[in-house]
């Protein structure tokens, strides 16, 4: 099921800079970028409001706290838009796999400036793992005819695995560059600045490629009212699993490659000693004494 048979990477649609420019840009010459976005429970949800249904192994949505776009994803959209602006135009398609409400994550990207969206929406997507997600997204990307560049956030802040870019890369046979802080297009390749554990790395990758974008990329643009209005007119297709060519046995929580055995909130026991004092100086003095007594200074 993971063969790339039937998928032939599209001809690089990127114009060779040394070739003479056509008088009129035709759509087929445009760089074709796909951005994958995810809607997640708000990661700023206070711990006290975070609840899990242990029997169902599911997070109980916090009352009154709306789900949000995964914080790294607008940066992926921003990267797509900046690349196209620098390149003089191109097409940005946004894909999200999720419930009906995930349409909001797509709308946000459309309001930022993406061209069209695809919502992968099927009851069978509920509770799937990253392996299944990578399979599903790959199928949708194939159905869209592939892309010159696929951008994603570095990870989703809910499960925080950061695995899907590599998965789609293996399935579609595309090279993957992760945790990008800057992306520059030079002809048929990208120069990407990556964030490493202890520094930065500069790499070059030929297109078509997959790049995951990190928060270091910089602030994504904030959609203006006019753009939000315009976005309402942009097309969002809704595809079921079958529409995207995803088999029923490939998705569904019962077919996970990483079966979820338990989900729970870890218990925290507090043993804090509050350092008292009449004045801030006295508190600081008392803390220093405590640290000395505990041989910590």
């Amino acid at each position: 099921m993971l063969t790339s048979a039937g998928f032939s990477p599209p001809d690089p649609l990127i114009r060779n800079r040394s070739a003479p420019r056509p008088a009129c840009r035709r759509p087929s010459n445009r760089v074709n970028i796909i951005v994958c976005v995810k809607q997640i429970p708000d990661p700023e949800t206070p711990s006290a409001s975070f609840k899990v249904d242990e029997a169902a192994k599911k997070v109980i949505p916090a009352q009154g706290i709306a789900p949000v776009v995964n914080p790294f994803d607008p940066q992926a959209t921003e990267a797509a838009l900046r690349l196209n602006e620098a390149d003089g135009g191109g097409k940005v398609t946004v894909i999200s796999l999720g419930p009906d409400s995930a349409r909001d994550a797509i709308k946000h990207a459309l309001a930022m400036g993406a061209d069209e969206g695809v919502l992968l929406n099927d009851p069978n997507f509920e509770g799937i793992d990253n392996f299944q997600t990578a399979v599903a997204l790959s199928r949708a990307i194939q159905k869209l005819g592939g892309a010159d560049l696929i951008l994603m956030g570095r990870s989703a802040a809910d499960w925080d695995m950061g695995v899907v870019p590599a998965g789609v890369g293996q399935i579609l046979g595309m090279p993957v560059v992760t945790v990008a802080k800057a992306i520059e297009k030079n002809g048929n390749s990208l120069k990407v600045e990556r964030v490493l554990d202890d520094g930065f790395q500069s790499v070059e990758v030929p297109l078509p490629a997959i790049v995951s974008v990190s928060n270091e990329f910089g602030e994504p643009r904030y959609p203006q009212l006019r753009q939000i209005m315009l976005a309402a007119k942009k097309t969002v297709q809704v595809w079921s699993a079958a529409d995207a060519g995803i088999g029923a046995d490939e998705v569904g929580a019962n077919n996970r490659w990483l079966p979820l055995e338990a989900l729970y909130v870890p218990k925290v026991v507090s043993n804090v000693e509050i350092i008292e004092g009449e004045t801030p100086d006295e508190k600081a003095h008392n803390l220093a004494q405590k640290l000395r007594a505990a041989k910590l200074v």
């Binding site: 993971l2 429970p41 990661p43 949800t45 711990s47 975070f50 997070v59 990870s155 802040a157 809910d158 499960w159 925080d160 695995m161 950061g162 695995v163 590599a166 998965g167 090279p175 993957v176 945790v179 120069k191 490493l196 554990d197 202890d198 520094g199 930065f200 790395q201 500069s202 790499v203 070059e204 990758v205 030929p206 928060n215 996970r256 490659w257 990483l258 979820l260 055995e261 338990a262 989900l263 729970y264 909130v265 870890p266 925290v268 507090s270 804090v272 000693e273 509050i274 350092i275 801030p280 100086d281 508190k283 600081a284 003095h285 803390l287 220093a288 640290l291 505990a294 910590l296 200074v297």
Partner: protein, 321 residues
């Protein structure tokens, strides 16, 4: 014969500490019936022997210079060769720049799944069962694998490495496998970090959004300067605001630290931050809010505006000499 393959790694020519931690984890699994431990390192036979001294039953030195770039494309054939040679059905990698990329790529290549950033591992019913944090550390998930090969990355500093035992013996082999890389490394630059490396520091002084502005980090640097071997860290919120370099970020998406002393200044303790420092031996919180998560997690806490405490604390610690 099942077994465990540990993907060791080096940093600036030395075996990285995560490699020993992975061997510590692998030995625990081995004692629970997971089979022999084989270590793979892109490096020398001397390094392979060192891995045996630290707990591997066998070690493979992958000597192809193409591995130095550390790209997935170059590494995959070496890992596959090591898997075949060892017969392992468990692969452990560090949650490092290398493991973050290699773990998922290997898993998908082998048509299995990967669990990232695991904090606990055990053998149950002859199979691996992993525990990892999710939802910003608010929840923990326990997972297993459907396919035969079980790939996991392990969070740094969650397992103890074993002391070197030169009397341990095991086979050392060399392989030359490496793949042609599609991703070309043009250059690497170190993060501009003054003084001691965050992960190695015995004392970490960290600041969060509650500091209110960037200049407060100067104060934290002065406080850190009063300790021996101290580094300054920051919460993700502070890094996102551009107040401190991302390389100094402590948390789920930053560094994991477990110093002897962690001083959290104006950090509320969002789970995303706690995930990176909850292994600290002693936590001190300086915070205006007595109900802050960080205060609850601390050994000592001062409930006060940090601006009134930190300068006084710097003087008090200087007095102690």
């Amino acid at each position: 014969m099942p077994g465990i393959l540990v993907i060791a790694q080096s940093s600036e020519g030395n075996i990285a500490p995560i490699s020993y931690e992975l061997l510590g984890a692998a030995r625990q699994l081995s004692s629970q019936g997971a089979g022999n431990v084989t270590a793979l390192i892109a490096g020398t036979e001397a390094q392979a022997k060192d891995l045996i001294a630290h707990g591997a039953d066998a070690a493979i030195a992958a000597s192809n210079p193409a591995l130095e770039a550390g790209t997935v494309d170059s590494y995959l054939p070496a890992v596959e060769a090591a898997l075949q040679q060892s017969g392992a059905d468990i692969v452990l990698l560090g949650q490092t720049s290398l493991g973050r990329d290699l773990g998922p790529a290997l898993a998908f290549k082998l048509k299995t799944a990967v669990a990232m950033d695991c904090v606990e591992l055990k053998i149950a019913g002859g199979r691996l069962r992993a525990t990892r944090g999710c939802y910003g550390g608010n929840a923990r998930a326990e997972i297993t694998w459907k396919a035969a090969t079980q790939v996991a990355t392990v969070k740094a500093k969650t397992f103890d490495g074993l002391a070197a035992d030169a009397s341990r013996s095991g086979s050392v082999t060399a392989i030359d496998a490496a793949g042609e890389t599609r991703v070309k490394v043009l250059g690497v630059s170190k993060a501009a970090s003054t003084g001691i490396k965050l992960e190695d520091a015995e004392v970490v002084v960290s600041g969060g959004r509650g500091l209110g502005d960037e200049s407060a980090f100067k104060m934290l640097e002065t406080l850190a300067g009063t300790f021996k071997g101290a580094a300054v860290g920051a919460s993700r919120a502070a890094c996102d605001l551009g107040w401190y370099p991302p390389s100094q970020q402590v948390g789920l998406t930053g560094k994991t630290v477990s110093p002897n002393l962690y001083i959290a200044v104006a950090i509320s303790g969002a789970s995303q931050h706690m995930a990176g420092m909850s292994g600290s031996k002693n936590i001190v919180a300086i915070n205006k809010d007595a109900d802050a998560n960080m205060v609850k997690a601390s050994k000592f806490a001062i409930i006060e505006d940090y601006k009134k405490i930190v300068p006084a604390l710097i003087e008090e610690i200087k007095k102690l000499g």
